[in-house]
């Protein structure tokens, strides 16, 4: 009977073959853990090819002269992330009904561990995010960074600005105290005077012709589902375009041809 050669079983991870440059295979728990991590990353990458995208994102070059003004965009995103995290914790206790909203905020402030701190972080974080987004826009404007080929990214950025302001407006009602209630009524009325869509917009915001019980839950849905989702999606696209087109160099930095191309320099020429 002929001997059938069976294929070798998958190698035992504890006696895996030695790696090039090493005398033995992994030995000791640390090296095995390292080996395991490498193979897990390899497993995911084999199926998703994410490493190429990550390399493309992280190891792209930023042009010469990039300075601290170029951190304003990422810090706006960071402020948004902070708002998202603190917002999730507030949503765990908040109750968007006209009768219980105020009590639930009181409960957050007085009873929940670090409740008032997280509430305050969310409240003042919104101011910080608005300031940062305006500074980021100012930098883009004064550096002429919205020009070819980045026009589309400017348009997305303005949409993100409008959405950030919508977040502030819709969030202002949620504590449901006197200030937020009446300021929102006046704000919605101001919206109502707008051309064409104005009356429809304010009726949509109020969930009817008058401020009612459903208005608060509508503002809540806008504030924590509709607009943040749109912001996250547009922010992703904004970032993709930044990585694809590259960040601008400061406008006063002039491109100098690399040395190799300057060999034909005429002597005496500056």
């Amino acid at each position: 009977m002929a001997k059938i050669k069976l294929p070798a079983p998958p190698s035992n991870p504890l006696v895996s073959p030695k790696r090039p440059g090493k005398k033995y295979g992994p030995s000791g728990p640390l090296e095995h853990a390292e080996e395991g991590a490498v193979s897990a990353v390899g497993w995911i990458d084999e199926r998703t090819s994410l490493s190429g995208g990550l390399r493309w994102m992280m190891f792209r070059k930023v042009p010469k002269g990039t300075n601290w003004f170029y951190t304003l965009g990422s810090s706006t995103m960071f402020a948004f992330l902070s708002q998202a995290v603190t917002g999730v914790f507030l949503a765990m206790y908040y109750d968007p009904s006209a009768t219980r909203a105020y009590q639930s905020i009181q409960f957050i402030n007085n009873e929940v561990f670090l409740g008032e701190f997280v509430h305050a972080m969310h409240r003042w974080g919104s101011s910080v995010m608005v300031i940062l987004i305006f500074l980021h826009m100012g930098r883009t404007f004064f550096f002429g960074a919205y020009k070819y080929p980045r026009e589309l990214n400017w348009v997305i950025g303005v949409a993100l600005l409008v959405m950030t302001m919508t977040m502030s407006f819709s969030g202002y009602l949620l504590p449901f105290d006197q200030r937020s209630y009446w300021a929102t009524i006046v704000g919605v009325n101001i919206n109502g005077t707008g051309p064409l869509v104005g009356p429809y917009l304010s009726e949509f915001l109020r969930a009817g012709p008058y401020f009612g019980a459903t208005t608060l839950s509508r503002f809540y849905a806008i504030h924590m589902l509709l607009v943040p989702g749109a912001i996250a999606a547009l922010m992703g696209f904004h970032l993709y375009l930044v990585a694809k087109l590259g960040t601008t160099a400061p406008p006063w930095i002039r491109a100098k041809a690399p040395e190799a191309l300057r060999e034909e320099k005429i002597p005496g020429d500056s």
Partner: protein, 247 residues
């Protein structure tokens, strides 16, 4: 930008980019440092300023101040700066809408190849003007007087009608003051001149009936006082009486 300028830009940018540093770790380090600063600022503000809660929202209450968050002050103040009532829709939505459209379309009408701020005098001047305008309007909004203070001398015709008329006038003045009408209307020396018209002599322009109708069914953005007229008709009548007596 024409085709040649676009190519020139892409070439120059390619050179600058080739001479630059990789995003990771150089730009990431700066971004992370900035993120830490942002976090410190937010935490410091929340510890120092807290999240105080005002009194509970009360649709029937008359004591309130419609004041938006500070970064909406400039939009709110725009209503005060543009006075004539016919132009109010223009101020409320017209100007912001036009500004927003101009902002959206900026890269499509400013197509010049120049990027240095000092060589784009129109764009830079316009930008600085907008920054100062927003700053000034925000300052005006922050400095607006408290809207719950009205001090108007009792008119002569009320004084001649006896002490009850004067008492009613004073009571009405208090209701109007507590209702925050002065946030948007001027009363003699008090209140803000806009978005609403001055009420210093409203009684001479409108009879009491018309004032009452306006309070119940106002033109936007003024809030309606119909709930006050249902909850406490006496206070509402004092309010109407006070306004009608302003001549």
């Amino acid at each position: 930008m024409n085709k040649k300028q676009k190519e020139q830009y892409l070439r120059d940018y390619g050179t600058l980019k080739a001479q630059g540093k990789p995003f990771f770790p150089y730009a990431v380090a700066k971004d992370s440092a900035m993120a830490v600063i942002v976090m410190i600022v937010i935490i410091t503000m929340s510890i120092l300023l807290g999240a105080e809660l005002g009194p509970k929202a009360d649709p029937t209450s008359t004591t309130y101040t419609p004041r938006p968050e500070w970064y909406f002050f400039f939009l709110f103040e725009l209503l005060r700066v543009i006075k004539p009532p016919a132009l109010v829709p223009l101020a409320t939505i017209g100007v912001p809408t036009i500004c927003l459209i101009l902002l959206f379309l900026l890269p499509f009408y400013d197509r010049g190849p120049e990027r240095r701020p000092e060589r784009r005098p129109i764009a830079t001047t316009a930008g600085i003007f907008v920054v100062f305008a927003i700053g000034y309007l925000t300052y005006l909004g922050a400095a607006a007087g408290p809207p719950t203070e009205i001090d108007i001398p009792v008119p002569a015709n009320v004084r001649t009608q006896g002490t009850t008329a004067v008492a009613n006038f004073k009571a009405g003045e208090q209701v109007v003051a507590q209702s925050g009408c002065a946030a948007c209307h001027k009363f003699g020396e008090n209140g803000n001149s806009g978005p609403g018209p001055s009420l210093t002599r409203v009684g001479a322009r409108l009879p009491a009936q018309a004032i009452q109708r306006t309070l119940i069914n106002p033109t936007a953005p003024m809030p309606s006082f119909s709930s006050l007229s249902e909850e406490s008709p006496k206070q509402f009548q004092q309010m109407v009486g006070f306004l009608a007596a302003l001549k």
